[in-house]
Symmetry: C2
Subunit: 543 residues, 2 copies
C-alpha cells in the first residue's frame, strides 16, 4: 500500500508517523511545499518575542530524522499541483528545480492546512504574516530594525504577536475592525484582555480599519496615522482547498473540504484532515471551520487508523482555545453568547468571579467565568474564562464535562482535587453547577449586564448589598446601598415595586435576592455583579 500525504505539519505528520506504527510495509510519501516539516506553529510568536530563544526549538523533526525513525519519504519544497482522483495520481513540482513529476497513490491524505488571509490594501505587500518558519524568519529580521509595529487583527494570533513585539521593546499598535479583542469571546470576557494589553503599553484601536499601508506608517480610515516600521497581518485564515476543489472534491460553504466522520472526502481513497477541512460542530451538529492545532493533530492520527481499517470515528468538535496575554489567560470552549444569539438558540448565562484557589491561602487571584446553558436540556453550550491562574484548568474541566455530556447543574457533583493552593472546597466549577441548578429550579432569577438599563427604566429599584466602602468606590447609577447583613432590618426602606439586587460578583446578591423573594418582594440578581457590569464597559456603553 502506498500512502501519499500532502502537507507535512500537524495533521500530515501525525498521519504519517501513526501510519508507520500501524504498518511497517506501507510506502509513505509526504509532500511539503514549505521548507520545513513538523514545526511548532504555535510557538512562532514566542520565538519572535525571544521567549523561545533558539530557532531549532521550533523544528521538531526533519526529513532526515523522520526517515531514520519512521522510514518516511519526506520531500520538502515539493508542491502538489494537481490531483487525479480517478487515475490516483498527484502531479508534483519540485520548487527548487522546477521539475515536475507524477506520484501515484493507493490512499491520499490532504493536509494542506490554511493560509493567512491578506486584506487588499494599498501597500499591503509590505505586511508580513506568520504561518510557518519562513514567515517567522522574515518577521524576526524585520523586528531587528523596527521601533514601531502595527498588528492588523486582534484575534488569538494577533494578540500573541502584539505581546511578543512588546517583549522585544517595539512600540506596538493593534488595529481591529471589530468592537473587541479576541472576537470568539464575548465582549465582557475579552475586555480584561484589552485592559491588560493597554497596561503593557499596547495601543489598541478597536472598531478601526486600515485604509493604506505606507513606507513606515499605517493610515486608518479616519485619517489617523500610526507609526509602523513593521506590519503584521493576522486577520484570520482560510482553508488551502484549491487543490481539492480543482480535483473535484466537494467543498463546503466555508471553503473547507467536506469530510465524513471517518475523514473521507467525496472521492474514494482521498481523505482530508486539519485546517483544510470543515469539522462537525458539537453544539450545532453542523459543519464549519475550526482551525486548531490540537484538532489537526488528532485528525492526522485518526486518518491513519481509518486507512488501516480500524473502526475510528472523528467526533464533533468543541473548538477549545486559549491564549496567554502578559499576566492574563483567556480561554473558551463551545459556543459564545453572541454566536448563540446570532443562531437564535435559547440559552441561559452565568457569570462568576471565583478565586483560583482558597481565599485563605496566599495569592488567590480572582478569575472571571462564564457558562452558557441550554435552558430546556441543562446542556452546557459553552464556557469562557479569563484570569491569572487556573483558567486553563477550568476550561479543560468544562470541555471534558461537555464531552461527557455532564449537565450544567451536575457540575456541582464533580470531585475536583482540593488543597488550598489548588482550588476551593467548593471549586469554581462546583459553584457554576450550583448556580445553574438554582436557575434551573427557579431558586434564583438573574438579569444580565446589558438588560440592566431597561430594568431600571421600567421602574426597578436598584439595591447594592455590598459594604458602604465598596459602594462608595462605585456602583450603578441610582442604586441605594443596603449591606446584606442589614437587609432584613432595612427592607422597608425599599419602595414598593420590583428590586434589582447587585453586589460585587453576584454571590451576596444571590443571598439577598433569596431573602427578598421570601419576604414577598419581587427581586432579581445582577448576574456576575458589579464586576461583570464594569468589565463589559456598561458604565460607558449602556447610557
Amino acid at each position: 500500500m502506498k500512502v501519499l500525504i500532502i502537507g507535512g505539519v500537524a495533521g500530515g505528520m501525525s498521519a504519517a508517523t501513526r501510519m508507520r506504527r500501524l504498518s511497517e510495509s506501507a510506502q509513505i510519501v509526504v509532500l511539503e511545499r514549505g521548507a520545513h516539516v513538523s514545526f511548532a506553529n504555535c510557538g512562532l510568536p514566542y520565538y519572535v518575542g525571544g521567549v523561545i530563544p533558539k530557532r531549532e526549538s521550533l523544528l521538531l523533526q526533519t526529513p532526515e530524522s523522520l526517515a531514520a525513525r519512521f522510514r518516511l519519504d519526506v520531500r520538502v519544497r515539493h508542491e502538489a499541483t494537481a490531483v487525479d482522483p480517478v487515475g490516483r495520481t498527484v502531479t508534483v513540482r519540485e520548487l527548487d528545480s522546477g521539475r515536475e513529476y507524477v506520484e501515484s497513490f493507493d490512499e491520499l491524505v490532504l493536509s494542506t492546512g490554511a493560509s493567512a488571509v491578506v486584506a487588499r490594501l494599498p501597500g499591503v505587500e509590505r505586511a508580513l504574516v506568520l504561518r510557518d518558519v519562513t514567515d517567522v524568519d522574515r518577521v524576526v529580521e524585520a523586528v531587528g530594525n523596527a521601533r514601531s509595529a502595527v498588528v492588523i487583527g486582534a484575534g488569538f494570533i494577533g494578540v500573541e504577536m502584539a505581546e511578543n513585539l512588546v517583549r522585544r521593546g517595539i512600540s506596538t499598535t493593534v488595529i481591529e475592525r471589530g468592537p473587541q479583542v479576541l472576537g470568539p469571546l464575548d465582549v465582557e470576557m475579552a475586555a480584561p484582555v484589552a485592559a491588560e494589553m493597554r497596561t503593557h503599553g499596547i495601543r489598541l484601536e478597536l472598531g478601526a480599519e486600515v485604509s493604506t499601508i505606507e513606507a513606515d506608517t499605517v493610515t486608518l480610515s479616519d485619517g489617523s496615522v500610526v507609526p509602523a516600521d513593521l506590519v503584521i497581518m493576522s486577520i484570520g485564515v482560510r482553508p488551502e482547498s484549491g487543490l481539492a476543489r480543482e480535483a473535484g472534491l466537494e467543498i463546503g460553504s466555508g471553503a473547507g473540504v467536506v469530510v465524513d466522520d471517518r475523514l473521507r472526502t467525496s472521492m474514494p481513497h482521498i481523505y482530508a484532515v486539519g485546517d483544510v477541512v470543515e469539522k462537525r460542530d458539537s453544539v450545532s451538529g453542523q459543519s464549519g471551520l475550526i482551525p486548531l492545532a490540537n484538532s489537526a493533530n488528532r485528525q492526522g492520527r485518526l486518518v491513519a487508523d481509518v486507512i488501516a481499517g480500524l473502526p475510528a470515528i472523528d467526533p464533533p468538535a468543541l473548538g477549545t482555545a486559549i491564549v496567554g496575554v502578559f499576566g492574563l489567560t483567556a480561554a473558551m470552549t463551545g459556543w459564545s453568547e453572541k454566536r448563540l444569539r446570532a443562531a437564535k438558540r435559547p440559552f441561559r448565562v452565568i457569570h462568576s468571579h471565583p478565586l483560583a484557589h482558597a481565599g485563605y491561602y496566599p495569592d488567590a487571584a480572582a478569575m472571571s467565568l462564564k457558562l452558557l446553558v441550554d435552558p430546556d436540556t441543562d446542556q452546557i453550550l459553552g464556557a469562557q474564562a479569563v484570569g491569572a491562574d487556573g483558567v486553563d484548568k477550568r476550561i479543560d474541566v468544562l470541555a471534558t464535562a461537555m464531552a461527557g455530556g455532564i449537565a450544567a447543574s451536575r457540575l456541582m457533583d464533580l470531585e475536583l482535587a482540593y488543597a488550598p493552593q489548588f482550588g476551593s472546597a467548593k471549586d469554581a466549577i462546583n459553584m457554576l453547577g450550583y448556580m445553574a441548578d438554582n436557575l434551573r429550579i427557579g431558586a434564583l432569577r438573574t438579569i444580565q449586564w446589558h438588560e440592566l438599563d431597561e430594568a431600571i427604566s421600567t421602574g426597578s429599584h436598584a439595591v447594592d448589598v455590598r459594604t458602604p466602602e465598596e459602594f462608595a468606590a462605585g456602583s450603578i447609577p441610582g442604586a441605594r446601598n443596603i449591606p446584606l447583613d442589614e437587609l432584613r432590618a432595612r427592607v422597608e426602606e425599599i419602595p414598593a415595586g420590583p428590586i434589582l439586587v447587585l453586589c460585587q460578583v453576584g454571590q451576596r446578591g444571590n443571598s439577598a435576592t433569596r431573602l427578598l423573594n421570601q419576604l414577598g418582594r419581587e427581586a432579581v440578581n445582577l448576574d456576575g455583579g458589579y464586576r461583570t457590569w464594569r468589565a463589559a464597559g456598561a458604565d460607558r456603553i449602556c447610557r
Copy 2:
C-alpha cells in the same frame, strides 16, 4: 420548621447557610463542640508553616457574622451528648458552664466529622494532633520552642505537616509503618514525593514503628532513637459516630453512619453528612469512608436541599485528593492499583511521563501519570499523577471524565486548551487515550515494572532503544542497546526469542515494539519505561 445541626464546620455550616437561602422562615440552630465554626481545616498545616501568616485567615466565619448574614443560631462550645430520635430532642451540654439543656428538632443533621486516631503508645499524651483551631494553637506554641519534630504517619496530612515544620526550620523525621509515603497512591507514584522530602532534609523512616515517646525523643521498635521536641500524630481519622451509635442509628462496617443517597440515616428526620458518614464508592458501588473536605461541603449543601423537599441526590464518590510537597504535587482520583489488586478486580495499567506543556516552550517539566482501566469495559477506574506543574489540571480532567463516563480510549478525543505554555497539541490526557486504545485493540502489549524480572528470567531479551548516552547513564540489568533509529538495520543482532523493549518513558519503546511485531518478532514494551522502573525502586527491590 426547626432544623438542628450538630457540627459547625464544612458539612454543618454548608447545610445551615443553604438551608437559610432556601427558607427564611426556618429556625436553624447549629451546635459546635469546639470553639470555632467554619474554619479552614485544610489550611491548618500552612498556618503552622507560616505560609498563611495570620490566624484570623483560618476563621472564615464567626457565630456573629453568621447571625448577621444568615440569621443562624450558632452555639460554640455546646456539645450534643444524646439524641432521642423518637422524641426528636437532643441533649446539649454547654461546655464552659457545665449546664445541660434539651433542644427539640423537626429535622436533625449530624455533621460531627472525624477525629484523629491516636495510637496507644507509652508517652503518647505528649503527641499533638491537628484537626481544629485549638489543635493548631497548641502546635504553633510547641513549634516555637522546638528544634526537632517527629511526625507519625506519612499520609496526606503527615506529609503536609512535615513540609511546614521544615519551613519553620525544624529538623523533622517522618515515621511511617507502611512501605511508602502517601499510602493511597501506588508505590512508584509515591516514590518521587519521598525523594522530594528527603531532598529537603526530612528524615523518612518507612516500614518503621514507634514503640515509645519520651520527653524529647521517640524510640522506634528497632531501638533507634529520634530527637523529637515535638511529636505530631497523623495516622488517620475515624468517624465521630458515637452519638449516632448511641441514638440507635445504623452504623456501617467502617464505623461511619449509614445514609442513603438522600443522606437520610436509618431514623426518620435524621440526616448525616461529611466525614461521619460512609459514602458510596463510584468504582465498587459499595460504601466506605472517604473523609474529604470537598465532599463534606457538597453533602452539607445537598442535605439542605433534601430537607427542603428538592429532588437532590448524592452521587457516588471518587475520592479525588491532592497534596503539595515542596516543589512537587501528587494527586489521585478513583482506585489505585493495589486497591484493585486487593479487590481482585481486573485492570490494565498505563504509565506515562509527559511534559506539563509543549517541550519547545521553556520550563516544560515532566510529570508522571498513571491510569487504571477496566480491560473489559474500557472504563477508567483510577488515575494518579505526580510532578511539578499541571498535575492538578490533569487529575481534575480525569475525575471529570470518570464522572462523565468517558471511556479510557476516548480520552484521545478530548479537546483541551492548547497553547504552548499550557499544554501540548496532543495533551498528556489525549496520549493516555491513545495508549489505552492501543492496548484495547491489541496494537500494543506492555509489561509492568514489577513483571520485568520474571520476563528476563524466563528468557526475554531486553533491548534498550534509547541513545547510547542515555543507556550509559543506567539501564536495566542485561539490556543491550540498539537505538530506535538503528533498530530496522540491526534487528538481526537480537537473538531469537521474546523481546522486552524499554526506553526512557515508554514512547520510543512503543514505536520499537510495533516495529518488532511487524518484523515478526514477539515483543512487549516496558510500560512507563526506565523512568517508572527506577521510580518504583525496582533497581533495588526487584533483585
